[in-house]
């Protein structure tokens, strides 16, 4: 079991690093999905199978798919990749790397201070469920309210100028706009990316 953990962890770290350095959005997304899958394996090795399943279903399955949808929708194209190339310089990683290293160091220090013991007894879904409906009931309710809020907010934000009558999720809206010949879809190829480039502020950090 330990070896499973270390391998999955290594894959997770590696694929995350790859994701961070990609220029193409879709490539990065794919790497991110791999990373999530690896983390799910880590969860499984830690004895939380339920969580591993949830991770794959919700995180990799729903959220990442959403990302992919939007990226596809934006239809950025080659120009976007060029832009990324111009933006992403190696020296850009210096600052964040330092900060992340510091954080890592702090975490390691804190971990080392506490006594570490290795267990791999699984905590099954039954216990999780009991906990959810027991002490964490409030949290469940709040989470549902949060999701409702997100739903309404996303709908409202995505509704746009309400040119077309829309209901349901924002995906519909964009499709309808595409049909109506919205400018959004044509962006990236000819119009705005180039023009918007001119009033960029130079990198601050």
């Amino acid at each position: 079991m330990p070896s499973l953990f270390y391998m999955a962890a290594a894959i997770a770290v590696f694929s995350t690093l790859m994701m961070l350095t990609r220029l193409n959005a879709v490539h990065a997304l794919l790497y991110l999905i791999v990373s999530l899958l690896a983390v799910a394996v880590v969860f499984y090795s830690l004895g939380a199978p339920f969580i591993a399943a949830l991770e794959i279903i919700i995180y990799a399955g729903a959220i990442m798919v959403l990302f992919v949808f939007v990226v596809m929708l934006l239809n950025l194209g080659e120009r976007a990749t060029e832009l990324e190339r111009s933006w992403v310089r190696p020296r850009m990683y210096v600052g964040p790397a330092i900060l992340a290293a510091l954080l890592l160091a702090e975490m390691v220090i804190m971990l080392l201070q506490t006594h570490v013991a290795a267990h791999s007894i699984a905590v099954g879904p039954k216990e999780v469920g009991t906990a959810l409906y027991g002490p964490y009931l409030i949290g469940v309710e709040l989470a549902s309210m949060l999701l409702l809020g997100a739903l309404v907010g996303a709908y409202h934000l995505g509704a746009g100028k309400r040119e077309a009558p829309s209901e349901g999720s924002h995906a519909d809206t964009y499709e309808s706009r595409t049909v109506a010949g919205g400018d959004l879809i044509r962006a990236g190829t000819d119009r705005t990316v180039g023009a918007a480039q001119s009033d960029f502020h130079p990198d601050v950090h």
């Binding site: 600052g95 964040p96 900060l99 702090e106 502020h201 601050v204």
Partner: protein
């Protein structure tokens, strides 16, 4: 009857309010009735009160009327209270009566002026303030009146404010007297800090108990109060404002700068005579100021060509006599001279007003002449007034009052021969410039045409004053001339008699004789220079030494120039240098500093999400570090 004491300052005050608010809408006649009438009623009230006081004097010859408590803070409770004794009674009688005459006179004099109601409003406010000053029971109320008369003086000197020269003169008067007022305030502080009261009677009582003769505190207080008196009464070194104050209307000059306000300093010192008895050094200073001013102003008066300026310098000189009397401890002599001076100086100013009015506002004496025939009333009254001023022996009031002072300058314990001789020289000078004035204006060939003759309202007051200038002296005569001492007896109920010193050498008779002699000599020389052979005077001034002296005396012994160099120029220089106001820089500096900080902080607000995200990360690193390390 004495209960009506409060009416005396209140009536003019009420009239001021009426005229200030309704004045522009009232007809000239109404304004005159209100303005003059209030003073008339006030004078009547003081007359009645005087009668009651003299007939049945209150216990201790002093009457106090308290109206209300003004301030009530801890142990400091000055009240609005009026104190009537011989001194204040005398002064309010003179002030209200002379004011009445002058107001009546100015009802006609100022008839052509646009600011008719404004004039009377100011004059009434002045009388109200002056009476408050005189009747005030505590130094705070006195100071209120003091400031009030200063204010009215400013307002009235600059009455014709459209001419900047008048404004300048008014400002000069105010600022110079302000210097004196500051000394006065510091003196009040000193008195209050050490004696814990400002009530005058109480103050004098405590001072005589706690301060033995000659203590530094008493001397300091005395000198500071002298400073205040010097400013208000235009003595050395603060006399520079009075000649320029002649820019105001003539009735103003008559009232304020001859008869009343300038005597406020005399009153102050007389009122606080206990303090001065406790501080002989301060009292000597008073005498020295008096004698120096006397001579200085007399010499300056000799060189002036403006008729009113001669009279101004003459006022300064005569008040010098009063200060001299106060300085040697002859309190009642000083007030005697005050009374007679009020009469003849007001008279001189008013008839000078008749003259200038008649000659279309011509002030230059050398352009006048031969008015003897054309303006007989003016001539005769002016002559009487002038003779009284110079001290024509035996028949004029001035002779008796001045003679008394001169004798006391010698005879009093703190008198000296030097003072006596100098004051007689002063008589000579007075006679000289007075008759110069009379001869130049009324005798000789006529140089200007007379256009306007005075009316009834202008003639009667001057005639009344003329009569008073003669009769006023007979209330107190030396022992060999009738031995009347009504006046000094009356005043001795509140002011102590002078301390007599060793008298040897000259007797009072001899002193009076010398005075008369000085008068005659002055008259003769004046006659010689200004009537008989005018070219003699011109020859004298043509020579370089004479010319320099003439100019020096004309310019008030260079004091204006001195003050300009000493005070005015440095302040102006500093104001120029400080144009950027480097004191203000401190405050703008603070503002600029905070602006700098603002700009610095502003750069962090870029509106860019990445920047904020970096900030969050950085902050969390810092916090984690703190948690770890601390």
């Amino acid at each position: 009857m004495l209960k009506g004491l409060w009416l005396i300052p209140t009536l003019p005050l009420a009239s001021f309010l009426v005229l200030a608010i309704l004045g522009p809408r009232l007809a000239r006649k109404a304004v005159a009735i209100v303005g003059v009438g209030s003073i008339g009623l006030s004078a009547l009230a003081s007359l009645l009160i005087a009668g009651s006081f003299l007939a049945s004097p209150p216990p201790g010859y002093a009457y106090i009327q308290t109206l209300w408590t003004w301030i009530d803070v801890g142990s400091f409770q000055p009240r609005i209270a009026f104190y009537l004794d011989a001194l204040s009674l005398l002064m309010i009688l003179v002030v209200t009566f002379v004011s009445l005459l002058i107001h009546w006179y100015s009802a006609e004099f100022m008839l052509d002026d646009e600011g008719y109601s404004r004039f009377f409003a100011y004059m009434n406010l002045f009388v109200a303030s002056m009476v408050t000053l005189l009747l005030g029971n505590n130094l705070l109320l006195l100071f209120l009146g003091w400031e009030g008369v200063g204010l009215c003086s400013y307002l009235l000197i600059g009455f014709w404010y459209t001419d900047p020269v008048n404004g300048l003169a008014a400002r000069k008067a105010f600022i110079v007297t302000r210097v004196g007022d500051t000394a006065l305030i510091v003196g009040l502080f000193l008195l209050f800090t050490h004696l814990h009261t400002l009530d005058i009677q109480e103050l004098m009582r405590r001072a005589s108990q706690e301060w033995s003769g000659g203590t530094t505190l008493a001397v300091a207080a005395g000198l500071l109060l002298l400073g205040g008196a010097v400013g208000k009464s235009a003595q050395l070194p603060l006399q520079t404002w009075l000649p320029d104050a002649m820019a105001g209307p003539t009735p103003t000059s008559a009232l304020i700068h001859a008869a009343t306000m300038v005597t406020a300093g005399v009153y102050l010192i007389a009122r606080l005579h206990v303090l001065y008895s406790l501080a002989p050094v301060a009292q000597e200073a008073v005498a020295i100021v008096g004698i120096a001013t006397l001579i200085l102003a007399g010499l300056s008066a000799l060189t002036q060509w403006d008729i009113k300026r001669v009279l101004a310098y003459s006022t300064i000189s005569q008040i010098g006599y009063m200060f001299l009397a106060l300085g040697v401890g002859a309190w009642s002599a000083a007030l005697f001279h005050f009374m007679t001076h009020a009469f003849f100086k007001a008279l001189l100013f008013l008839s000078a007003g008749i003259v200038t009015n008649a000659l279309h506002n011509e002030h230059n004496m050398f352009k006048m002449g031969g008015l003897r025939k054309k303006l007989p009333v003016a001539f005769w009254t002016f002559l009487i007034g002038g003779c009284s001023l110079a001290g024509l022996p035996l028949i004029t009031a001035g002779f008796y009052s001045k003679g008394r002072i001169i004798w006391e300058a010698r005879a009093a314990a703190s008198g000296s021969t030097a003072l006596w001789v100098l004051s007689i020289v002063g008589v000579l000078l007075t006679s000289l410039y007075t008759f110069r004035l009379i001869f130049l204006v009324f005798f000789g060939d006529a140089k200007s045409r007379v256009s306007r003759k005075p009316g009834y309202a202008m003639k009667v007051p001057v005639i009344v004053l003329g009569v008073l200038s003669i009769l006023g002296g007979f209330v107190d005569t030396p022992w060999f001339l009738g031995n009347v001492h009504r006046f000094s007896d009356f005043l001795q109920t509140s002011l102590p008699p002078p301390v007599e010193g060793q008298i040897h050498g000259v007797s009072e008779l001899g002193s009076e004789g010398f005075v008369g002699l000085a008068f005659v000599i002055g008259l003769y020389f004046s006659y010689l220079f200004f009537l008989r052979r005018r070219n003699l005077a011109q020859a004298l001034t043509a020579r370089p030494f004479g010319k320099a002296l003439h100019q020096f005396w004309f310019a008030d012994w260079g004091m204006d120039w001195l003050y300009d160099k000493l005070f005015v120029q440095p302040i102006l220089w500093f104001a120029r240098v400080d144009k950027q106001d480097f004191i203000d820089l401190l405050y703008t500096g603070i503002a600029r500093l905070s602006e700098l900080f603002y700009r610095a902080v502003r750069t962090t607000e870029t509106g860019r999400v990445r920047w904020y995200a970096a900030g969050i990360v950085f902050g969390s690193v810092v916090f984690a570090a703190i948690v770890l390390l601390l």
